[in-house]
Amino acid sequence: MNSSKIPLDLILERMAEDAEKAQQRVSKASEILQGQLSFELGQTPYEIVYEEDRVRVKHYSRNENAEDKPKVPLLVVYALINRETMLDLQPDRSVVKTFLEGGIDLYMVDWGYPKRKDRFLTIDDHVNGYMNNIVDFIRKKHNIPQINLMGICMGGTFCVMYSALHPEKIKNLITTVTPSSFNTDRGLLHIWMKDLDVDRMVRTFGNIPGDLMNLGFLLLNPARLMIDKYVGFMENMDKKEFVENFVRMERWIFDSPDVPGETFRQFVEDCYKNNLLIQSKMFLNGQRVDLKKLTMPLLNFYGEYDHLVPPTACNQLSKAVGSRDVEDVNLETGHIGIYVSSKFQKLFAPKIVQWLKDRDKQDVAASKTHSARPAARKKSSKTEKKVRAGKNNQAGTAQAI
């Protein structure tokens, strides 16, 4: 007797099993959702050391017992979209925690929530204004000429601009998922922004509402972000840890400050539409952002499956800068997966810690050599690495972001 092509009996049997499991799951989920859940973000203690208008700087206490603590503090600059709490999502997925355990003296910019009065703030106000003041504050506090700078996404673009305009103040630069070349059709944002009537948008909204941008980001992949993500939640809502992580992520994703109108206008016009930055043709307050002046060591991370800032938008930077010590790291994950996926926790932040320590050691060695004989120019190279890591469910969600 031939077996049926559609085993209806089996399918119905499985469906009945599924229904039973679903009922049990809902019953357990009800207990979990009504119980005590911990989904707070950014729990690592910090102190606010700087405040200017809406902008604040967080300072974290590092592990003083860590080996080879880097001597130079690190300033992390997040994007104006979403919040920096993503770097300290939860204790076991915290870039901040890894940095502190590695002995990094960490400062982080909290851009706050722009209000209507901030609509006239330009990129220059952020880069040459707030960022420059913060860098000066840290330099003065530690009595050092240079600090390390790390940027995330749009914050990374700001860091690139800053480092090109003030190279004397930056020792090492780390860019992560940072768009610098915008003339690509790999990312949907790059396609959509090309024809956006940004003047009309800014005229209408003043600041660009975070909710509007959220909707735009959801529309980048509605199948995953509006359906599959919640199906995944329904399937795992009987697991307390999963629910906590999920809610934490949801809270972060939809915590979206508005973007100051003039900054948005300039970013779309100069970067997305005219691609001026990578050509060293962008101007901030009359000063040209010349990438060849970016001579400090550069570590450039990006995600292979990043659909917001595709690799082609990130990997052009290393060729455009004047630095000879450049390393590109291509991680096989998405835009947020780099920071929050459990697998990349072991690859991303520890790599940065080590890279900074190595640069510190090189300085010590160079200073010793320098004291022994006249300076010999360090031989360096531009390299690219591709790093793989397995996928897991949470990372899958993060990848889609």
């Binding site: 077996s3 092509k5 559609i6 085993p7 089996l10 399918i11 499985r14 469906m15 599924d18 606010i48 050391v49 700087y50 405040e51 200017e52 208008d53 209507r116 009065k117 609509r119 006239f120 703030l121 106000d125 204004g129 003041n133 504050f137 059709d185 949907l188 396609i191 959509w192 024809d195 956006l196 009537d197 009309r200 948008m201 005229r203 209408t204 909204f205 003043g206 529309l219 980048l220 992949n221 509605p222 199948a223 995953r224 359906i227 599959d228 199906v231």
Partner: protein, 302 residues
């Protein structure tokens, strides 16, 4: 003439008692002592303004009544009363005709919608429908919002009409946008069915709903990626955003018109002020920098 009067359904007797009653009321009003409610001597001497006006009105009615009582006028009035039902009928008829004309026009348009959907490919189906609906709105309804208002409040009325117009346009555009967004869903179900059929043929029909779901969501994702990369989608997205922005802009202006009635500042006032603040702050910060004053407000507080 006498015969005409007899045949006429309009009788003097119907209206004259009214005039007589009016005369009586006028006499009563005239009998009321002027200025009874005031002690001011100056006002006592002057005639009552109300009775004076009434007097004029009644005199006018009396003279009209006199004229109507003349045989020629009475005959004309009688004729007009006879014609009244016919006039009403004509008015109603033209109204119905106008309504029918619009309805026929709409039916005709709707018919065209049907024809156009059949004539085009599936991908363009919804867009054609929305284009046709937009045409109906543009040609049949939008004109009502464009009727020029008159009088001193015309600017406000114009703005309000424009807001309604922009809202309707945005609604139409949003419907089109949502329909485009729904297209991948529709297509994915069709492809999913084909895929299931193929798997069944191969004897690999998914046994678990989770498997089927995984196949469908992958198909859906693929369709969305294709859609989002298309110039058609970018065009619809930008048009939708444009209509939304137009509506918000005019809504804000209408709101500002309304707020002018109250002692409340408007967005425009505040924006002007913010811009001045922004420029002023930049100058102050620059000066502070030159003087070596830290911009860190935290240390300033301490």
């Amino acid at each position: 003439m006498a015969d005409e009067d007899k045949q006429s359904p309009f009788k003097e007797s119907y209206i004259f008692p009214w005039f007589r009653a009016m005369d009586m009321w006028l006499d009563l009003i005239k009998a009321t002592p002027a200025g009874a409610d005031t002690d001011l001597g100056a006002q006592k001497a002057s005639p009552n303004r109300f009775t004076g006006q009434m007097d004029t009105n009644i005199n006018l009615l009396r003279s009209l009544s006199r004229m109507i009582r003349e045989p020629e006028s009475a005959s004309a009035m009688a004729n007009s009363f006879i014609a009244l039902p016919e006039i009403f009928l004509k008015m109603a008829n033209s109204g119905f005709e106008a309504a029918l004309q619009i309805q026929n026009h709409l039916i005709e348009k709707a018919g065209k919608i049907g024809k156009s959907t059949q004539a085009y490919k599936f991908d363009n189906l919804d867009q054609e429908v929305f284009e046709a609906l937009n045409n109906v709105y543009e040609k049949e309804l939008r004109q009502y919002f464009k009727i020029p208002p008159l009088g001193p409040a015309r600017f406000y009325q114009e703005r309000f009409n424009e807001m309604l117009d922009k809202y309707n346009l945005f609604e139409n555009m949003l419907a089109e946008f949502l329909s485009v967004l729904y297209l991948p869903m529709e297509k994915s179900f069709r492809v999913f069915q084909e895929k299931l059929e193929q798997l069944a043929e191969e004897g690999n029909f998914p046994r678990e709903t989770k498997e089927s779901y995984a196949i469908w969501i992958k198909i859906l994702e693929g369709h969305y990626i294709n859609l989002f990369k298309s110039s058609e989608y970018t065009d619809v997205l930008h048009r939708m955003l444009g209509q939304l922005e137009d509506f918000i802009a005019i809504r804000n202006k209408t709101m500002e018109d309304f707020l002018q009635l109250f002692p409340i500042v408007t967005d425009q006032d505040v924006d002007d002020l913010y811009k001045e603040f922004h420029l002023l702050k930049k100058r102050v910060k620059e000066l502070e920098k030159q003087l070596g004053i830290s911009p860190n407000t935290l240390t300033a507080v301490k």
